[in-house]
């Protein structure tokens, strides 16, 4: 019987022959090349935790306009997706909670910005389904509320459900902790949140991480996002701003 090694040792790497799988790009310009006005961008993060802050800053610098942005939240004034509001680059925001942002409120009230609010679990599942090729799914969340208006309703086992269409995007932007050259990604603590779902739902998925490690360094069974979902990978440095600092009395 032939024994096939599960993990290729570093010395056995097919050196120079992994070009097709090497997801690394050298600059943030390359990382977001092809992003144009009017596109849909989906972003990972919860509050300011685990947001792709450098990719967002690059979009701010590019100045692309009329974006539809999908993200659980919209950053805060002056940080995260709040910076795209400063640049008046967001036409429509799809989110579950947008309460932390003064500029958001201002642009919404004067009609510059359109918003679609989606229950957080439905938002997560819409993104997951989008990445998994599922066009829509039934859920009990939102039945009998404003969320159900205009949506198909159906009974299963005496309970009402609404049909929620899935979400995909032209670009998905993701913040990871570590990744290898193949684009296999690991997230750290609750900075995981929406990131692994978002990674699956982009036509082009761009991941920025704190550290890119050599192939073979990450344990295959500990990978959160397999490299198949990742198109471009870049290493950045992160401010990791804290929204609400709470500590125990020392």
């Amino acid at each position: 019987m032939m024994v096939v090694p599960l993990i290729i040792e570093g010395s056995q790497l097919p050196s120079g022959s992994m070009a097709g799988f090497d997801k690394r790009v050298q600059t943030y310009v390359q990382a977001l090349d092809g992003l144009r006005d009017g596109m849909t961008v989906i972003s990972g993060g919860f509050g300011l935790c685990g947001i792709p802050e450098n990719l967002i800053d690059r979009i701010r610098l590019m100045g692309v306009k009329d974006l539809t942005v999908v993200s659980n939240n919209c950053g805060v004034d002056g940080f995260g997706l709040g910076r795209l509001l400063e640049g008046r680059q967001i036409k429509k925001m799809i989110a579950s909670y947008v309460g932390e942002n003064g500029l958001f409120e201002k642009q919404l009230l004067c009609g510059e910005l359109e918003v679609e609010l989606i229950p957080q679990g439905s938002l997560a599942e819409k993104i997951r389904a989008g990445g998994a090729g599922i066009p829509a799914f039934y859920t009990a969340t939102g039945v009998g509320t404003l969320v159900a208006v205009g949506k198909e309703e159906r009974m299963f086992k005496d309970r009402r459900y609404i049909l929620e269409p899935s979400i995909t995007a032209d670009f998905a932007i993701v913040k990871g902790w570590k990744a290898d050259w193949y684009g296999n990604v690991i997230y750290r603590n609750t900075a995981q949140n929406f990131n692994p779902l978002v990674a699956t739902a982009g036509h082009i998925t761009v991941v920025e991480v704190e550290e890119i490690v050599s192939p073979g360094e990450l344990e295959p069974s500990s990978i959160h996002t397999p490299g198949i979902y990742v198109d471009r990978l870049i290493q950045g440095s992160f401010e990791k701003r804290i929204e609400k600092l709470t500590t125990r009395a020392s």
Partner: protein, 220 residues
């Protein structure tokens, strides 16, 4: 006397059972964690992807990658797990959470709950509240009996946009603990020093008064 926030949390904590997985909403529900009865172990779920939320970190051990759904820096306790938002809401929507405690603006005799939007005021979003009320079998609403404007929050029919329809069975206010049966609020317990008459006067939806209404007891 109406219950203090701490007393409300203390009374709510008596609904906890050993081995429960519990989601606590923002506001008074969060305080329930401070009153977990001795000898009972519960695992707190935070919908951003943490099961087994621990206390706030020591000042020197703050981690920006470790927050709860209220965006506060927290810790993970022994036995905790961390996962994606999709996994987190699979737990919630799949009915795996034993008890959900959350606040509300209004509740009605149909078990409808309104907690996320006041027309005319800024709409911030429902976050995970609609998923929580749709997914949990066991929901405890924690709120004041009266609004700041002096209106009853226990109504024949909710006036505000709903968070969920027909999902609430139990309500704890600063005046009383009530259950919903047959399209009626049933007064189960009253706060110490609060008369049944006062509760009747402050409840706008249909209210049933059983023969015996217990007084809540608190160790001070």
């Amino acid at each position: 006397m109406a219950l203090t926030r701490g007393e409300m949390a203390q009374r709510a904590a008596r609904e906890l059972r050993d081995g429960y997985y519990v989601n606590l909403g923002i506001g008074i529900p969060t305080l329930v964690a401070n009153y977990i009865p001795k000898g009972i172990d519960v695992m707190l779920q935070s919908e951003n992807g943490l099961l087994g939320m621990g206390p706030f970190p020591m000042p020197g051990a703050v981690d920006a990658d470790m927050i709860n759904a209220g965006k506060q820096t927290v810790t993970a306790r022994v036995g905790a797990s961390i996962f994606s938002s999709a996994e987190s809401f699979a737990m919630i929507r799949g009915g795996h959470i034993d008890l959900t405690v959350l606040g509300a603006f209004e509740v009605d005799v149909e078990g409808n709950i309104a907690s996320w939007m006041i027309p005319g005021k800024l709409i911030k979003g429902m976050g995970g509240a609609m998923d929580l009320v749709a997914g949990a079998e066991n929901i405890l609403v924690l709120m004041t009996h009266f609004s700041r404007e002096g209106e009853s929050k226990l109504l024949p029919r909710c006036s505000l946009p709903l968070t969920g329809a027909g999902c609430v069975r139990r309500i704890l206010t600063d005046l009383a603990y009530l259950e919903i049966h047959d399209r009626s609020f049933v007064l189960m317990e009253h706060a110490p020093g609060v008369s049944v008459q006062e509760i009747i006067a402050k409840t706008s939806g249909r209210l049933s008064i059983p023969d015996r209404v217990h007084e809540m007891k608190f160790s001070r």
